[in-house]
Amino acid sequence: MIKGNFIDNLPKVYGIYTGGFLAFIIIMSIAEQMGMTAKTIGICFVAFTVAIYAIIGYLSRTAQADAYYVAGRQVPTVFNGMATAADWMSGASFVAMAGGIYFKGYGYMALLVGWTGGYVLVASLLAPYLRKFGCYTVPDFIGTRYGGNLSRFMAVVVLTVASFTYVTAQINATGTIASVALDIPFQYAVYVGLVSILLCSMLGGMRGVTWTQVAQYIVLIIAYLLPVFWISNKMGAGFFPHFMLADEVSRIAELEAQFGFVKNSAENLKEVPKGLAGITKAHSAVNATPWAFISLALAMMMGTASLPHVMMRYFTTPSVKAARKSVGWSLFFIFLLYSSAPMLATLSKLSLIDPSLPTGIIGKSIAEVQAIDWYQNWNQANLMFVSDFNGNGTLELNEFFMGGKAVVLATPEIAGLPYVISGLVAAGGMAAAMSTADGLILAIANAISHDVYYKIIDPKAETAKRLVVARVLLVVIGFAGATIAALEIQGILGSVIWAFDFAMSGLFFPLVLGVWWKRANKEGAIAGMFLGLVSGAAYLVWVRTGGSGFLGITQLTFGIFGSAVSLVAMVVVSLMTQAPNAATQRMVDEVRVPAGKSILGKQH
């Protein structure tokens, strides 16, 4: 099925797939009418979609190095855009983003700006040039451009630190969703998630991941947009929420003025389960200083341009031209979800707090709220909590607490949508977390198998042996990630943001200057990667252990410090040591021109 003419048939294949998925949703909703239980529907959604991904993964199996590492470099622009969007939008984007906006408003929206603006840097500074280079992995570029095993190895170290931080969060997310949908304990669900992830990537490498990611994008975008549009219409807020929620936004501001923001005494807060919060920040008003906003956005933008699992998606396009366009499509597909998250947060908040709406719970009696079905469900899942602190029997705004995930997971139920939508949302969250985890695990395993094993340890290894090593590493890294995820050390969103900071600390300037500054040399790049990563990590540890920080750089933006050190180190050391030789300079000249052969051969 996946041969020659498969590429030409892509629109048809995925068209049929989308139709099939919509038909499946309809069948499920009919089954719900006929009395299928909520639990069975949840299991069907997750099992059905994961089975489809596994089939795609199996059909994409390959024994060729360039298919395994870069999907044979024949992924068309638009489809690569979808795959990148799925690769990019993680469990955090899907499950946690709308919740973050709901609770933190403007200060959090810096992530939206940062996670999209970064693609401008990807398109203009890096992707087309790395595609021309013809590398298999990001350290492949560093190792060839600067020369030497040490620079290659340093790049692998930075890549592994950043991606591994990220991937534990994603495996954690697949585990959370699998444990809710399949009703099994989290410790086991994590491994169920892991096996699903490996089914997509083991046999086909990048080729398998590409075609499953396209399939996962289709599931996740339907699962995100359908409820947003449905809720908006049901509430009478407007049939196209993105253009029509201005009244709702100003109504929330009105209610904020009326109720005031939540302030609770420490004593009362002790009763509230961990991780739940009240509405303490304005919804649409500017509630952060310019620097707090800009520094977070900047860190996320530079991090975007340094994360290897995103960059390597642009190695799979047929040409340099296609790589550039493909970045545009990626961002377009990401935009569809990101621009909807604030709308979902608005609808969710208004439907809960507006007393004049039938779904509003503020102002109702506590007993009445506690008797609502959905409240009982989500209270049991530890995502909602009410308590009558002042003893007047009525629910006030500062007596209602919710977890961030509930905005995406619970709003459909609150708005009175059928349960089939909740099953769909679970499948979407699973798709988002799986696709990102796949991209990350593959990025790490490929870097170690290609750059450390093949390029440094055993350059004479045959293709078959290389691919065995790559697959063994995939499983080992996956299990390591799952084991750490099962320990639940850091929340999903926190570790995602750290990954961006690590990546930008070590890789942003060595990558960018590799293309844009001919004078950059090996010594400079090694110093930049090493000192950038170490100083970034040291800053994080310092702030985490009670350090005060400086210039308003927090534990979420430590990459700004790390990358500044990296830049200075790289420039100073490069200038103090010898300029790169003529061959390297010529190589940089060739990278800057789209025409002609790639620097590295098709099979290397």
């Binding site: 403007y106 929206m109 500074l125 100003s250 906003f293 800009i294 961002l331 021109v593 025409a595």
Partner: protein, 86 residues
Amino acid sequence: MSKQEQHWEKSKGLLMMTLAIWFVFSIGIFLFGAEMNEVTGPFGYPLTYWFTCQGSLGIFVLLIFWFANRQEKIDEEFGFSERGDD
């Protein structure tokens, strides 16, 4: 100046322009977030709020496509574009 140097000069010019627009909508406008939010923006949303939800994001999408087209033109002008289509 060789053809290749001219091509690179033009590409750098385009990069600078792209980064300037990027800077305005990712950083510049948020220096005045509080002031701008007093103004009503498109579709009736407060202006800064609109930029964070849709405006900046949408501008980035358009900016990348614009950049890709301009760069293709530059490559063609100097005969550096790849043969075959995508």
